[in-house]
Amino acid sequence: MQPVPIEALHVLERVPSGGCGALVRKHADGAMAGALLVERGRVCWALSARYPWRLTDILVAEQATLSRAQLDEVFALCRRDQLPLGETLVERGLVSLPVLHRALLRHTCEALDCLLRDDASPWSWIEHSGHGYHPLLTFSPAEVLAGVHAIACPTRAARALARLHQVVRPEQAGFTIDRTRGTRLPIAQLHCEAIDVVALADLATQADEVMAVAATVQVEVALAQLGAFACASWLEDTMLFVLLCDGELAFNRLLAQMATMTPNL
């Protein structure tokens, strides 16, 4: 088996753009090992027979004001009336949308991580036509890829994400590679939702290769035109940060930003 983030990339690159369905794995006895559910090309849920936590466990852990009794009551109501649990919790003011989003992403990534490690069949794609998940509560393959990778290094991933929030402007996207890890895939990302996950992995590899050579002449920041994107990359300790910008004068805008930032790196 390859490292889990690479296995995750191989699975996520199979998610059809705009497709609805599930990528499924089975155990040798035919029982389902788990699945990755997809709507309109976005990941909405993952389940694994080996994953021990429920969403409600994570919600209680993420939001201290939420009691198990409150959750159980809403859970029973949703089951009886066939209501979506997440939206109902938000509507009743029991959790905020960001907390729900974070809990769902954590559950999805951790369950996928378990499923990737499971001794089960290859993935098979089962198409369906149902649309049931709120788009705000589904995740791009890029979010899931970074989320799965971050499981092994949560503190460093949180630090990387906090730094991305400082430097990535609203019209930009950015991601971070942890060079102490074996794989050149993001451990954190911001606004990369629209970028194809394979393109993101290619950008990460190119940025890392560029910085490896650039460092031989004490270069701190590399700016390059990579396809539609102007791309800036720089190292902070062992973290490689990559900033992406497209549109009119993207390269010039990024150059000006990096020239200002460099003394603070």
Binding site: T216, E220, L223, Q225, L255, T262
Partner: protein
């Protein structure tokens, strides 16, 4: 006036060169002043621009220097490399090199 001469006249650069990334050699070079970084800088930029997948345009910033590279459209192995000191006129230097390169591309 050649592209390299025009660049050296327009901005305060250390060196400007055409490199052939396929064979990794400097085809033509103009040096405004001797500097120990010229050789390593040309080597690094040649390495970075070697592959066809490499970007058409690149700028590298260090604390003291700016490295600029542009790849020719009609011959992707031929790359213009400019090394200059980093100063407050960073944007001007980058824009000037780009406009001279693009004018030469259009004239070719």
């Amino acid at each position: 006036m050649t592209v390299l001469a025009e660049i050296c006249a327009a901005i305060d650069c250390i060196a400007a060169a055409w490199v052939d990334t396929r064979i990794g050699v400097v085809v033509e070079q103009r040096t405004s002043r001797e500097h120990a970084l010229i050789g390593p800088a040309l080597d690094a930029m040649t390495e970075l621009m070697r592959s066809r997948e490499r970007p058409p345009r690149m700028v590298l910033l260090s604390a003291q220097h700016v490295h600029i590279a542009h790849r020719q459209a009609r011959d992707p192995h031929r790359v213009l490399v400019v090394l200059c000191d980093r100063s407050a006129n960073l944007g001007f230097a980058v824009a000037t090199v780009r406009s001279i390169f693009e004018a030469a591309e259009q004239a070719a």
